[in-house]
């Protein structure tokens, strides 16, 4: 009996020992935190990683289709808005001279005039001795849009449109010239980004 009590006491001591909290090295916390700080990236490293590391994106087919449609719409809008000859719904005359790259020292400029009632349109300017016969505009298929491409040397040029061989019109889409040598308003175009 006494032996049993001793053994029960033994079990109690075993249980006490197993219940006792495990004593950790006092420096343990400090070592763990130092390791965590060493491993943790800074805010900038995290931001850089967010931008540079590839990661899978989950996109539904519908979203993908919408993105593709958006890109296609941007391309269409961009292409259309880059075309200077796009007809304007405005009745009367709308025109513009747009410079496009050509040979060095000069650029190809497209002159456009919307003149639905006109039977002929020409552009005259300091680049063709103001001669209405030298640079006629061609009528496009619809909308009364007239256009011609002219190679102009870099610099500032004055010009105007001659409608039906007699009516002198400035380009409604271009700035007017300050000086007017022939008694009619002229327009100004600057080719190559510098004026002469």
């Amino acid at each position: 009996m006494h032996d049993d009590d001793q053994h029960d006491e033994l079990i109690a001591r075993v249980a006490d020992e197993l219940r006792a909290p495990v004593a950790l090295d006092p420096a343990f916390d400090a070592r763990v935190m130092a390791e965590v700080r060493r491993a943790a990236p800074s805010r900038w490293q995290r931001a850089l990683r967010w931008w540079t590391e590839p990661r899978p994106l989950r996109v539904s087919p519908l979203t993908g289709l919408a993105c593709a449609a958006g890109v296609a719409a941007l391309l269409v809008v961009g292409t259309v808005s880059l075309r200077p000859a796009s007809p304007s719904p405005m009745k009367g005359a709308v025109a513009t001279g747009v410079a496009v790259p050509a040979e060095p020292g000069s650029e190809m400029v497209q002159f456009v005039l919307v003149a639905p009632q006109a039977s002929s349109v020409a552009v005259v300017g300091d680049f063709n001795d103001w001669d209405p016969r030298r640079t006629p505009l061609r009528a496009e298929a619809a909308g009364g849009v007239w256009s011609v491409n002219v190679s102009l040397r870099s610099g500032q040029h004055q010009y105007a449109f001659v409608v039906d061989g007699k009516e002198w019109r400035p380009d409604p889409a271009a700035p007017r010239a300050v000086t007017d040598d022939f008694g009619s308003p002229n327009s100004v175009i600057v080719v190559g980004g510098k004026s002469t």
Binding site: H7, L10, I11, V14
Partner: protein
């Protein structure tokens, strides 16, 4: 002095006593070790142990009894060594 009476004043002996306990526990059958720890260390009732382990109460009592007997033998040998 026997290992089982090691005190906090003798950390080396206490560590040795703890290691002996763990060695003895490792030598128990897994179900006996589980039953002993739940009963004597976690202080669960046999009903709670039964709900936890799914074993019957009488089986758990038998496992605890056998675990205690084996621990007494193994640690008694150490204690009287």
């Amino acid at each position: 002095m026997a290992l089982g009476e090691a005190s906090a004043e003798h950390p080396a002996e206490r560590r040795e006593w703890r290691e002996e306990i763990h060695r003895a526990l490792e030598r128990l059958e897994a179900d006996q070790r589980e039953a002993f720890l739940l009963k004597h260390v976690e202080d669960l009732s046999y009903e709670e142990m039964s709900a936890l382990t799914g074993a019957g109460i009488s089986a758990l009592k038998m496992r605890v009894k056998r675990a205690c007997e084996r621990l007494r033998v193994m640690l008694g040998e150490v204690q009287h060594a």
